[in-house]
């Protein structure tokens, strides 16, 4: 906001000093960091008994996890699922978002709501009948089934992010291209897509993170050969006691590093607030 009038000169209306904001958010960050850090330290600890820190460090649990949990295969499945879900969701969601942003037509708000709804309804609610449906279609347990179910919550996310993105692109650019004789398809490819590319990339990265992190639907549909990392992690944590906790944490760290790297890349492009709700300015 660059209008000087709107900025209160010294006090914020209704706001006191902001130290407690930092304190509260800081406490939350310390808690989350503590949780992740203790899992990380445990994964590189040869033993960790009484002390604040492990007694000695080792990388053997990672080698153990790779062998014991078939981590290479699980990672490959995760990447295939993540990329397929991302590409298919973009292919479905980007054209829909463009039309929703550009055309006014009766029932537009309702359609937008319908397209965003699967993101708001918890997957486990529709996941069980959806899984029953896929098992009946002999897709249960297969890689294709896992990819199909993950599109359901991912595609609405593309619509949610890309609709405001297209809205802010000046329609005159398209009109100019149309006037100069470009076909609608050509306008989309040569004018819109280059402009929208940063938004598409950001949305794609976020879908990738979410597809990798989404547990419930993959859990309901995947079989032994189509588990993603997070489902494998769940099974390992569920059967804790069979294998050393350090090895499970090693898998958790592999998952965490993968997700975190993609998330940080995505956050360079997109405001976190827009990840949960569409903010109307």
């Amino acid at each position: 906001m660059n209008r000087p009038v709107a900025r209160a000169p010294h006090t914020h209306a209704g706001g006191g000093p902001s130290w407690w904001v930092y304190a509260l958010v800081g406490a939350f960050a310390v808690l989350v960091a503590g949780i992740f850090l203790s899992a990380f330290l445990n994964s590189i600890a040869s033993t960790w008994f009484g002390g604040w820190l492990p007694d000695a460090y080792t990388t053997k649990w990672y080698r153990f996890a790779v062998a014991e949990f078939d981590l290479g295969y699980v990672l490959a499945i995760t990447i295939v699922v993540g990329l397929s879900v991302t590409l298919l969701s973009l292919a479905l969601g980007v054209p829909a978002a463009y039309v929703l942003a550009r055309r006014a037509f009766p029932g537009r708000p309702l359609l937008l709501l319908l397209l965003i709804l699967p993101m708001l309804v918890p997957p486990i609610t529709y996941g069980i009948p959806l899984a029953a449906m896929l098992y009946r279609a002999h897709l249960g347990g297969s890689l294709a089934g896992v990819i199909i179910v993950n599109i359901v919550p991912a595609m609405p996310f593309v619509v949610l992010i890309m609709t405001p993105f297209f809205e802010q692109i000046d329609p005159n650019l398209e009109r100019a291209a149309r006037t100069l004789g470009a076909s609608p398809g050509r306008v989309f490819r040569r004018v819109l897509l280059p402009i929208a590319l940063p938004g598409v990339l950001a949305a794609g990265l976020l879908i990738l993170v979410r597809a990798i992190a989404l547990f419930e639907l993959t859990f309901l549909v995947s079989g032994a050969k189509s588990q993603t990392l997070v489902v494998a992690l769940y099974y390992a944590a569920f059967a804790a006691g069979i294998r050393p906790s350090q090895a499970i944490d090693a898998m958790a760290v592999v998952y965490m590093v993968t997700g975190l790297a993609l998330l940080l890349a995505a956050l360079r492009f997109i405001n976190p607030v827009n990840m949960v709700i569409r903010v109307r300015q």
Partner: protein, 305 residues
Amino acid sequence: MQRAARHRTEADAAGQAPRARRRWGALVPIAPAFLVVLGLFIYPFAYGLILSLHPQGDLAKAGALANYAAFFGDARERTSIWNTLRLAVPVTLLDLAIALPLAYRLRRPLPGQRVITGLLVIPMTLGTVLLAEGMIEFFGPAGWLNKLLLALHLVATPVQFVHNYTGVFLSLLISDFPAVFLVLLGYASGIDPRLEQAARTLGAGWWQRLSRVTLPLLAPGIAAAAALSFVATFSVFPSAVLVGQPAGETRVIALAAWQAAYERFDYPQASAIAMVMAAIELVFVALVLAARNRAYQGPTIGGRG
């Protein structure tokens, strides 16, 4: 001028049919996305509903509603609703209570706001399974929190934080907080600060400004956050197993549905439980929206004057 206008109207009248076709033709790019939602989201709901009305096994002859009767007739199954509610409601309220003052304060950018919101998004995105796995270490009997409490002589023996109600409660509180906060922040930043300044100029104290101006304007945001948070926490699944007591006090309704489908292979019964779950969520959202409609409705930006 007038002639040009008339000319345009005539052209419109002449070109109406193809134009209408073109207008609907322009909606074609939405069709694939629409069909995906229809086929893989709306249809499963209908399929689940129909499936739940066709009981299998021993219940097959007991009528269409036998699956529902079996769920509500069995004390262990029925209790799963209560087990879930006593997690979802307090977590939603507590997260709202913490997030509300924060979002209110952050409604205008503060130094480092992007870092703050970025930090919050991390646990939300990485998900509850990872959080639960880390919590087992951190909150465990030999974890850092218990070490700290023992070192400060606040407790004599390690406190049991995980593998019970507390574990799931904490896990939900942490995983749900970012979404509640970001929703509220989205709404709070849409409120024109001049409205509050106007109230201040007119002599309203901070409590009056909060209760008569800001909170009513934030009501839609609070309603949205409460609804999203309840729906998300009511369907809790992995953390109820990993840091809870899945055979006892944290046998939540999602777990009851999962057990019906994957341990007893009774998809009709599982679908019935999923329908009960969806119905409870729907009732809660309807209640929140009804409460929200009783509150102020109107613009959140001041007029120019």
